[in-house]
C-alpha cells in the first residue's frame, strides 16, 4: 500500500473510531480489506442507538470530494466525521440482528 494511502486509511479508521467512542459505543470490530480496485473498511458494531445511526448516515451521505481531500485530509482524526466521508466513494449500512455493519469503500482510482 502507498504510504499516503496508509495514512489516509488509518485516519478514516481513527475519525470513525473517535465518533463511536464519543457516542459511548465501545464494542466494535474493525477490519481493513485491500482489494484490487478498492479499500474496504468494515466496522462491526454490536449495538447502536437508532438516533446515532441516523446521524451517522446523515454524515456519510455526501460522497467523495477530491478537492477537499487534497486540501485538508491531514486534519482527519479529530474532527466530528467532517472529513472522512469526503474520502469515501461509497458507504454501505447492513443490519444483522443486533449487529450493525458499516462498510466504508474507498476506490483506488480517482473518479
Amino acid at each position: 500500500m502507498d504510504r499516503k494511502e496508509e495514512e489516509k486509511i488509518a485516519k478514516i479508521v481513527g475519525e470513525m473510531t473517535h465518533y463511536l467512542l464519543k457516542h459511548n459505543i465501545q464494542l466494535f470490530d474493525v477490519k481493513v480489506h485491500h482489494h484490487e480496485e478498492s479499500y474496504v473498511i468494515i466496522f462491526q458494531i454490536e449495538s447502536i442507538n437508532q438516533e446515532i445511526l441516523i446521524d451517522l448516515k446523515d454524515k456519510m451521505k455526501y460522497g467523495r470530494d477530491e478537492e477537499i481531500e487534497a486540501y485538508g485530509w491531514t486534519l482527519m482524526g479529530n474532527t466530528d466525521l467532517e472529513i472522512a466521508p469526503r474520502l469515501l466513494d461509497n458507504v454501505v449500512f447492513e443490519q444483522k440482528d443486533q449487529m450493525t455493519i458499516i462498510k466504508l469503500i474507498r476506490n483506488k482510482h480517482e473518479r
Partner: protein
C-alpha cells in the same frame, strides 16, 4: 455533492462581468483605461499597494474583472462545480484584486501547482483550493520583475522560476501546515505562504537586498465602495430567496456550526442559507466600518470581500463577533497607549481577525475574544517577518494565534469536563 446549478452559476457570473465592464467603460475611455491598467500590472504590488491609488477606480475594477474572468474560466475548464470553498476563494481573489493580485503575477504559481500535480500524478483540479489561494503570494513575482531594479530579461525569468517553485512547494506544505493550527485558522494557506515568504525574504536579505514594504493607499472612493458593497450584500440576500423560498429555515443550524476547516456551508445547509449568510456577513462588516469610523480603501474592500467569501466556508455572525470584539479591545488599547500604533494594518485586522472564528465557534465567547485580542497584537510583527509578499498576512498571524491558544483552551475545557465527571 451540493453545488450551484451550472446554468444559474454562469448567469450570475456573466451578469456580474457585464455590469463590471459597463461600469468600467462608463468611468473611463478605453485607451486611458489600458494605460492605467498597465500601471497596475507593472506595480511591485507588495503590501500595502492599493490598486485604487496606482491605477484609479476604473482600472482597478478592470483588474477585478480580468482576474475574476480568468479564474472562472479556469474553474470551468477543469469541469469543477461551485462549492463553499471554491466560492470563498473566488471572492477572496476578487477582494485581493483591489490590492496586489492581477492576472500576470498569478501565473507562475499556477504553473508551479501544475508541475506539482504532474510530479505527484494527481489531478490538477484536485488542488483547486490551494491553486486559487496561491495567488496570495503573487507580489513576490511582481516585486522580483519590477521592484528590485533588475533588467526585465533577468527579472522576469527569475520571477517565473521563483513563483513556480513556490507553487510547486505549496500544496504539499499546506497540508502539513494544517496540523500546526488544527484547522482553527480559516486562512490556512495564508499561514503556509507566510512561512514561505519569510524564507524568501531571508534569501533576499542574505543576497544583500533589503525588502521594503509599501504604503500606497487612497480613501478617495470610500462612499462609492461602501454603497457598492452594501448593494452587493443586499443582492446576496435577495438571491438567497430566489434559490430557497425560506433560507432562514436552516440558518439556526448554520449558526451552531463551529466553522472549523473544512466546513462547507453549501454542502451542509444549502445554497439559499449560505448566500443569506454571505449577505449578512457583508452587512455586519459595513456596520463595523461605520462604528469604528474606518475609511474604505482597496485593501479594506478586499478584507470585506474575504469575510463575505468565507461566509460560505466557516464564518457566521456567532463565531465571528467574539473575535472581532477581542480585536476591538486591542484596537482601543492601542488608541489609549499610543494612537500612532493604529495603522491601516490594524484596521484591516479588525475584519481579517474573523479567520480565527472557529476558535470562538468551538470554545465560546471569551476564548474567541482572547484569540481576537492577541491577533491584533501579532499582525504588525507578522508583516515584518514575511516582508509583505504574502497578501494574506492575517492568515500568517492567525496560524500562530490558533496554534498557541487552541491547546490551552482545549486543556482548560478538558480539565473542567474531568472535574465535572
Amino acid at each position: 455533492m451540493n453545488h450551484i446549478k451550472t446554468h444559474r452559476q454562469a448567469y450570475i457570473i456573466t451578469i456580474l462581468c457585464v455590469l463590471l465592464f459597463t461600469t468600467v467603460l462608463l468611468l473611463q475611455p478605453f485607451d486611458a483605461l489600458i494605460h492605467d491598467y498597465w500601471q497596475i500590472l507593472i506595480s511591485p504590488s507588495i503590501l500595502l499597494t492599493d490598486y485604487l491609488a496606482v491605477g484609479g477606480l476604473a482600472a482597478t475594477l478592470f483588474n477585478v474583472l480580468t482576474t475574476l474572468l480568468f479564474n472562472y474560466i479556469l474553474i470551468k475548464s477543469l469541469k469543477l462545480h461551485f462549492t463553499g470553498p471554491i466560492l470563498a476563494v473566488l471572492m477572496t481573489i476578487v477582494g485581493f484584486s483591489f490590492f496586489g493580485k492581477n492576472v500576470l503575477n498569478a501565473l507562475p504559481m499556477y504553473l508551479g501547482v501544475y508541475l506539482y500535480a504532474k510530479a505527484t500524478k494527481t489531478e490538477y483540479k484536485n488542488h483547486i483550493i490551494v491553486l486559487l489561494l496561491s495567488t496570495g503570494i503573487s507580489p513576490i513575482v511582481s516585486y522580483i520583475t519590477f521592484g528590485i531594479g533588475l533588467e526585465l530579461y533577468i527579472g522576469l525569468p527569475l520571477a517565473i522560476i521563483f513563483g513556480a517553485l513556490i507553487g510547486f512547494i505549496l500544496p504539499a506544505f499546506n497540508t502539513h501546515a494544517l496540523r500546526f493550527h488544527q484547522g482553527y485558522n480559516l486562512y490556512s494557506t495564508g499561514f503556509s505562504m507566510g512561512v514561505i515568504a519569510m524564507v524568501g525574504t531571508a534569501i533576499m536579505h542574505g543576497f544583500g537586498h533589503k525588502v521594503k514594504t509599501n504604503f500606497i493607499i487612497t480613501y478617495d472612493y470610500h462612499w462609492i465602495l461602501f454603497f457598492g458593497l452594501l448593494v452587493l450584500s443586499l443582492l446576496f440576500i435577495l438571491i438567497s430567496f430566489i434559490y430557497d423560498k425560506n433560507p432562514w429555515k436552516n440558518y439556526p443550524n448554520l449558526l451552531k456550526s463551529p466553522g472549523r476547516l473544512v466546513t462547507d456551508f453549501y454542502r451542509d445547509h444549502g445554497i439559499g442559507t449560505t448566500l443569506l449568510n454571505i449577505g449578512i456577513m457583508g452587512l455586519l462588516s459595513l456596520v463595523l466600518v461605520l462604528v469604528m469610523k474606518i475609511q474604505i480603501s482597496g485593501p479594506m474592500t478586499g478584507a470585506i470581500f474575504t469575510v463575505m467569501g468565507f461566509a460560505a466556508f466557516g464564518k457566521h455572525p456567532f463565531n465571528s463577533i467574539p473575535v472581532v470584539l477581542g480585536g476591538i479591545i486591542a484596537y482601543w488599547l492601542f488608541m489609549f497607549v499610543d494612537p500612532s500604533l493604529v495603522g491601516e494594518g490594524t484596521k484591516l485586522a479588525l475584519l481579517f481577525v474573523t479567520g480565527l472564528a472557529p476558535v470562538a465557534g468551538q470554545y465560546g465567547l471569551i476564548p474567541g475574544m482572547v484569540a481576537g485580542f492577541l491577533h491584533l497584537l501579532i499582525v504588525p510583527f507578522a508583516l515584518s517577518f514575511q516582508g509583505g509578499f504574502d497578501l494574506y498576512n492575517n492568515g500568517f498571524a492567525a496560524g500562530f494565534i490558533a496554534a498557541i491558544t487552541v491547546p490551552i483552551f482545549d486543556l482548560i475545557i478538558h480539565t473542567r469536563e474531568v472535574r465535572r465527571g
